[in-house]
Symmetry: C2
Subunit: 329 residues, 2 copies
């Protein structure tokens, strides 16, 4: 009798498992893009396959802005920066008349879009520096819990891409170690990335601030200083991957020219490799942009994808839904 | 019949498991030190314990030199540096007459011991810089496969501490994520740390060189530059832990004043914490040294251990064997 129960249970488990295995990536339409992902994963994870990769080498890296969540109309860390500048302005009366702070306080979109890189850095450092790491973590968590996207009214953490969440889960189920490699500051992303994406803090690699160990009345704290220690956009992505992970990824996922060096570095390794670009082609459900966009400019990387046969997601045709809140099934 | 076989197998597994659980850390004598380790691990891993810590927060960090392997008579990376300087000398005839290179080429131990920090850095940069990361990885692997300890004649990788290997395994079996946090360069440690200690490259945090992404005839490489991007000794240890891991450890293991900030940072967190110092007290089987040593100076940290009730390993009395090659059981 017990044997029958055990066998029935095993059979049920097998059924569930088979049913599940037959429908990975449910929010992806059954196009060549989805097939390319599944084919790659099968080839590197099936024992006996000529392209089999042992689990410790199954490293996959993901850009964040425009790849895992929306980056229009403004990069989320920039929105946070402007909000922090407004919050801190009462302590700095001189900011009212001083650029680039003036542009933020007057909400001068044209001036903000035209900011130089140095002016942008100045705003980031003035709004992010001189906190203990624990204080800053709380500031970010509080902000993310209430800040909303200006067009959809959704929390920014709801503006993630459902198909990419499924892709992260699919890779993890197949033994991949997944990392985010973002141009945003890791100090801005780590406080919420585990809850939203399943990236533990050590799996989030981003631009970072210099830090200092300080004993305050005998109690140690780590101060976040108003100075960058690394900037992980463009060439900085493979460099930080090498510094932090110390392995070359076998798969990389991005959406812009800032991700091109990461994709080049990933695909230049030996054995089967996978590179994917998310192409924003859906002006109705999201935004359509590429070569001329100020956020997520996709120009050289799109040419490189064509030249090298990388996988390009056509959001409009490849994705059944964009965000989790649209999901009907 | 099948049921009996199954039950017998389960019973056997239970027996093996119980026998194993009853004898963790076999190379540790049954002293208060061993009991302190086991008590801590039980309290943070037993569900229902008031000090229970979820697996994702079970971070343990280990110094390397003097904590996981021998650091006498010379730090291993220094031996490597001097060997590289000798190997490169034919390309630099001017080194024969130029300090600090002259001291290396003449094997002038007194002059080498008296080198300033800047002179030491110069030797490291001249011998480690301007390689691709893959070339340097091969150089290190080749060297580690044949370089031998001057007194024991053993490979340096055999000079690891058996009780610490068992401690690493014991923590990992209890769901800890273990990291090495070493003052040595991570580029020098990562090529062999996985095989010897079970630390994957991303679990090795060390001093690091700046790197540059370069396309060589269209093929991407990462160059290791003759410039430091971080130095992870002293205050640099908690800073790098925050930068790379982004969690505060709940347990930290060191042996010198260079580890003191890491132990302070670890024990200042909320909840039950564990700090351990390896005190080199065995002049017969290893070396006996502490407050006056040029390698692994243990002075302020020893006072802090006493003041704070941290665990101090008395190597002579706490460890049954020092190195794996002594093991008789």
């Amino acid at each position: 009798m017990k044997n029958i129960v055990l066998k029935s249970l095993l059979f049920l488990l097998l059924l569930i498992n088979t049913a599940y295995a037959a429908t990975p990536l449910p929010s992806w339409n059954d196009t060549a893009t989805k097939q390319a992902i599944i084919s790659f994963v099968k080839q590197v994870t099936t024992i006996g396959s000529p392209h089999y990769v042992q689990p410790s080498d199954r490293i996959a890296t993901f850009d964040n802005d425009g790849t895992l969540w929306a980056e229009k109309p403004t990069y989320v860390q920039d929105v946070f920066t402007y909000d922090r500048i407004r919050a801190l302005a009462p302590l700095h009366p001189e900011w009212k008349a001083k650029m680039p702070y003036k542009a933020v306080l007057e909400n001068d979109k044209a001036a903000l879009d035209a900011l130089s890189f140095d002016a942008w850095i100045e705003l980031v450092l003035a709004s992010h520096g001189n906190y203990t790491t624990e204080e800053f973590n709380q500031i970010v968590k509080y902000w993310m819990a209430q800040a909303r996207h200006p067009q959809t009214g959704r929390l920014y953490t709801e503006m993630v891409y459902q198909p990419m969440l499924e892709l992260l889960a699919y890779l993890r189920e197949h033994g991949f170690k997944t990392y985010m490699v973002t141009g945003s500051n890791q100090e801005f992303v780590r406080p919420w990335a585990e809850k939203i994406y399943g990236f533990a803090p050590e799996q989030v690699i981003g631009s970072s601030f210099k830090k200092k160990f300080v004993l305050q009345d005998g109690a140690p704290v780590i101060m976040q200083l108003p100075e960058f220690s690394s900037v992980t956009d463009g060439d900085g992505k493979p460099v930080s991957i090498e510094q932090v992970i110390g392995h070359r990824p076998i798969a990389a996922f991005g959406n812009s020219d800032g991700d091109l060096p990461m994709l080049q570095w990933t695909t230049a390794g030996k054995g089967l490799r996978f590179a994917l670009l998310v192409h924003h082609t859906d002006a109705t459900r999201e935004w359509a942009y590429d070569r001329k966009s100020s956020e997520g400019k996709l120009d050289k990387a799109l040419d490189a994808a064509k030249a090298n046969g990388w996988t390009v997601v056509d959001m409009k045709n490849d994705w059944k839904v964009i965000h989790p809140f649209e999901k009907k099934y």
